[in-house]
């Protein structure tokens, strides 16, 4: 019983934290939605962990808690891959911007010298 309260409070804390970040315009909406949905799914599961038992039994996992843990790991892995992808894209974008700045400065200098 104590464990369910702990996890529910954690889920709630995450929700509040996400909301606060969005309110301060520190987090883009697409990420806020993602983590908000996670929080909303986690809180009822934390309070009533047995609701997943029928589903987990149907697919051959011993308990609902194991299923949640497994899904959480997969989900976090996917999020990490997504972030690596975003960083790669951002690096490519900053690279193009750096080139643009260098070209503009060169052009400016050539015109001043003429």
């Amino acid at each position: 019983m104590k464990l369910t309260i702990l996890t529910a409070i954690s889920g709630l804390a995450v929700l509040v934290f996400i909301f606060e970040l969005v309110r301060r315009r520190q987090l883009r909406e697409k990420y806020a939605v993602l983590w908000g949905v996670v929080g909303i799914v986690v809180i009822p599961l934390a309070l009533f962990p047995s609701v997943l038992n029928p589903l987990s039994r149907a697919i051959g996992v011993a308990s609902g808690v194991s299923l949640v843990l497994f899904l959480a790991v997969v989900f976090l892995l996917v999020v990490c891959i997504h972030l690596s992808w975003e960083v790669s894209r951002l690096e490519e974008e900053t690279r193009t911007l750096a080139e643009d700045i260098a070209l503009l400065r060169t052009e400016l200098r050539e015109r001043v010298n003429q």
Binding site: R95, A98, E99, I101, A102, L103, R105, T106, R109, E110
Partner: protein
């Protein structure tokens, strides 16, 4: 103008204040009438001042991108300023600009020309995994090119207008991507690559690493880049 073509020499330089001015002066002395662009790749020293004083056009990147990043900037500059040929020369003085007309002539029937060390001559001695990597690469790329390519990692290379156009939009920034992946992509898209023998001079600064661990890592990275570039779109 060389052989009726507008030629741009691009010199990527990162903290090369000791040698870049001499290289620029030598290029301008040997090759009057070519454009000289030094790409200062986020240097912390006075590279850009030395290059500008020696008479080069200087493009300064705000932070270090690596040779590949500097070269795409060079190709973009060449493309936007309507050069017919862009030639890469290292800032450390190991490439002799007197070979440039030979490279330009070779572009008559090729899209990309590599200035390659003679077998043995002007060699810096490489051993072990680094040597194997270079041998394997030259075998694989020669077969793809239907031409002998012995020095695939040479930084002395010439591109015609068609290749410059490609490189202005696409040029890998990763380590070794600028040498290996570039060649693979050109060959897979039916660009013609040939090599021209040149004598390299000893570098004015810096030596390749001989540590066995580093050269094994080099072999692994080269193999990875090669395999990736074979399957990439």
């Amino acid at each position: 103008m060389i052989n009726g073509k507008r030629v741009l020499i691009v010199i990527p330089a990162w903290n090369e204040e000791a040698s870049v001015a001499d290289v620029v002066r030598e290029v301008r002395g040997e090759l009057p009438g070519v454009g000289v662009l030094v790409v200062d790749d986020g240097s912390k020293d006075r590279t850009h001042e030395m290059a500008a004083q020696a008479g080069a056009t200087v493009a300064r990147l705000p932070y270090n991108l690596g040779v590949g990043g500097a070269m795409r900037l060079g190709y973009r500059y060449g493309y936007e300023n309507h050069y017919d040929v862009v030639i890469q020369i290292d800032a450390d003085g190991q490439h002799d600009p007197r070979y440039v007309p030979k490279l330009v002539d070779a572009l008559d029937d090729a899209d990309f020309v590599i200035g390659a060390r003679f077998a043995g001559e002007g060699d810096y001695n490489v051993h072990g995994p680094r040597k194997w990597a270079m041998t394997l690469l030259s075998i694989a790329l020669s077969r793809m090119a239907h031409a002998k390519l012995t020095d695939t990692t040479s930084g002395f290379r010439a591109a015609n207008r068609r290749t410059v156009e490609l490189f202005a939009h696409w040029y890998p920034v990763e380590y070794l991507g600028d040498t290996i992946e570039v060649l693979v992509r050109l060959l897979r898209n039916e660009y013609r690559i040939v090599q021209v023998p040149v004598t390299m001079r000893p570098r004015q600064a810096g030596t390749p690493s001989h540590s066995p661990i580093k050269s094994t890592v080099y072999l692994a990275r080269a193999a990875l880049i090669f395999c990736l570039s074979m399957v990439r779109k």
